[in-house]
């Protein structure tokens, strides 16, 4: 609906009249009251009134349990064009009103105009790296707390040597005396240059932006001055608006990777919270994340497959002029999962690994190589077990021996 942002809720209630409930949401969260208004006032207020778009009632397998998918359209005129205003309008008070989960948001074209979206996006990140024909490979620092600059540099260099495209800070590495932001950027970018001289490929290092919310932009500028070429942000700890402002800042001219820290407090319950495709998909992209990490359906920290595909869809589907965000399904990834990842995500995905690189039997560099070999094989449709037998593919072979293969 033009001029309206639409929210979809899944609402569990064994007794409620869902149609009545939908109407009370549409009125209660907009004009407050409607039926008591004089007719003349109704004419004036109509443009502020929420609309019930649809109410679908379902029975579940449990006797007597029912839920409804309710869609409500909220007039743009009621709220400012920022994510806090949108969320407070559609799910502020309502989130506390029984078993109700926010399952979808469709913002209006007008609302969208306030959001430049990802500054680089999927294509922009590919441009920076000069890689267009394959999934990217990201690796995560293993242990960082209590390590000094030399330790970090060594770890960085080993990861980079294996041919990874991006390396991200651990999200729990905050400003600290051992590896302060600027020094860390200088040290790691130096390691990146040394590794690039060896591998002949470019590398992005996403440094973790932390500290007081109002200082993040200044910290980002510091990091950029020190040579940073990407940022990592724990978006949910700061709110989407902080990401929106950072990504809209002309001086923040490097990609931003959104970390899903705290997301598990919001998306997994069937009855409460905000569904992952909204939380980690639509809103992250709207707020301007160039890359979005989220729990994969394969590994140690799991999200159901269907939900995962909906997150991907939210990051990649055409939406006005908004760039797409690179999907980064994460956690518990090893080379043997690469064929599955490519089957589900296609080539426009970042394969992201921590333990699957650092824990490689032949060492960290071999860990990266094993992933690159797995990616190359999967792209050609060669089964990994077969590819592992090819000359020079010892890293892939050792990875498969250690962790196995799940062919698509």
């Amino acid at each position: 609906m033009n001029g309206y942002c639409t929210a979809t809720y899944r609402c569990y209630d064994d007794k409620a009249d869902f149609h009545k409930k939908a109407l009370s949401i549409a009125v209660g969260l907009t004009v407050g009251s409607w039926t008591d208004l004089p007719e003349a006032r109704k004419a004036e207020m109509e443009k502020h009134l929420g609309r019930v778009v649809s109410v679908e009632v379902h029975e579940t397998d449990r006797p007597g349990e029912r839920y409804a998918d309710i869609r409500i359209a909220y007039p743009d005129i009621n709220f400012s064009r920022d994510i806090p205003a949108l969320l407070v309008t559609i799910f502020g008070k309502l989130s506390m009103d029984g078993r109700i989960k926010l399952t979808d948001i469709d913002v209006s074209g007008d609302f969208l105009t306030a959001f430049p979206g990802p500054k680089f996006g999927l294509e922009g990140v590919r441009e920076l790296l000069g890689v267009h024909d394959r999934p990217l490979l990201m690796s995560i620092f293993k242990s960082v707390i209590g390590h000094d600059l030399d330790g970090l540099q060594e770890q960085f260099y080993k990861q980079a040597l294996g041919g990874v495209d991006l390396i991200k800070d651990d999200e729990i590495l905050f400003e600290n005396p051992l590896t302060p932001l600027e020094k860390r950027v200088e040290t790691c970018m130096e390691a990146a240059r040394r590794a690039s001289a060896q591998t002949g490929q470019k590398l992005l290092y996403a440094v973790n932006l932390t500290g007081p919310a109002s200082k993040l932009a200044a910290q980002a500028r510091k990091a950029i001055s020190a040579g940073a070429n990407a940022l990592l942000l724990n978006v949910l700890a700061y709110g989407y608006d902080t990401l929106h402002e950072l990504s809209s800042d002309p001086e923040v001219n490097i990609p931003i990777a959104a970390h899903p820290a705290l997301a598990g407090a919001l998306y997994p319950s069937p009855h409460y919270g905000i569904a992952a495709p909204v939380l980690l998909g639509k809103l992250m992209r709207l707020a301007g994340a160039d890359l979005v990490l989220f729990p994969s359906p394969y590994g140690s920290v799991v999200m159901p497959k269907e939900e995962n595909m909906a997150v991907k869809e939210a990051l990649l589907h055409p939406l006005s002029t908004l760039r797409t965000s690179f999907p980064v399904p994460s956690a518990g990834i090893h080379p043997g999962l690469v064929p599955l990842i490519l089957r589900d995500f296609g080539s426009d995905v970042v394969v992201n690994a921590g333990g699957g690189i650092h824990g490689h039997p032949l060492g960290t560099a071999a860990g990266g190589e094993a992933f690159r070999q797995a990616i190359a094989a999967a792209l050609k449709g060669v089964p990994l077990a077969e590819a592992a037998g090819e000359p020079g593919h010892e890293p892939l072979r050792a990875a498969i021996d250690a962790w196995g293969v799940k062919e698509a």
Copy 2:
């Protein structure tokens, strides 16, 4: 534990070895790995290592279902002294690791030193109003969207006439052309002065602070220049750090009321999220909220009684030099509930009503009067039914006829 912030989790798993899980949290979210470290390195790293404080395993009524309350202490040295860093450390990745809920946080004395806490707090708000001997009364605008300044002023004046102490904006009132922030403040404060001349009592008006996160401090200053004497903030839409920074800002020299919008996405599930006493209690106070609104156990938007009392406790218990935050149990409150509220909260509570004031059969002003009469009666231990019969108590009588009484 000195030098450690402690987190408590409730963790549901029918098969897990909870002691092993606790250890993996303590190590995994701090130093990353431990048993493989050389002894010399262990000595250096020990100060960064998380500690398992306790693991209590419980069986539930459902056959085979088990959960554990796990307490982990995280060394302060690992994270910066801000709430995003604390939350990302203790519940960033972990929130996505199965059925786990963050049920408590105890921050260290050192961590606390970075938090001035509420600038006014309960006592400060009482000082500003000159009211020390009774619960306060807050009223909420009814319909605000689509109304102009005259409409707002009229509504404000009527609410104020009934003897309320605080009036808060609707949390869904954002910056808009009909009632922009500064004009709204001027208009409502003018109505407050007119009403005060009638009632002889002071009044705080909490104006809703909205818009881009980085502009909130400037908006607050604008509101203060225009005469605002209190602020309302949708804290969870912006993140705790935004409240922390606002409340620490010397120029923001008026009380801040924290609205719980979006909290229902986080606290109600037994298996996921962040428990209300942490979400709306400890963290709101730590971040500096002078008043905290939360769903009451009585009304339309319900929170279980026990949880409600734990929120109150978190706002009021002695904690270093931190001021206490005024508890404001909200939603569905009418005068007949006042004895219950006072039984549960004592006198240090803000009785907060919307429909219970505006919907009064004798009008908005009588709505406020009915509450004040109910509060006076409850303080004296006079049953409301009896008090309603006293001369001049028509407002209370009409309220009881409309909504009934629940004596404590």
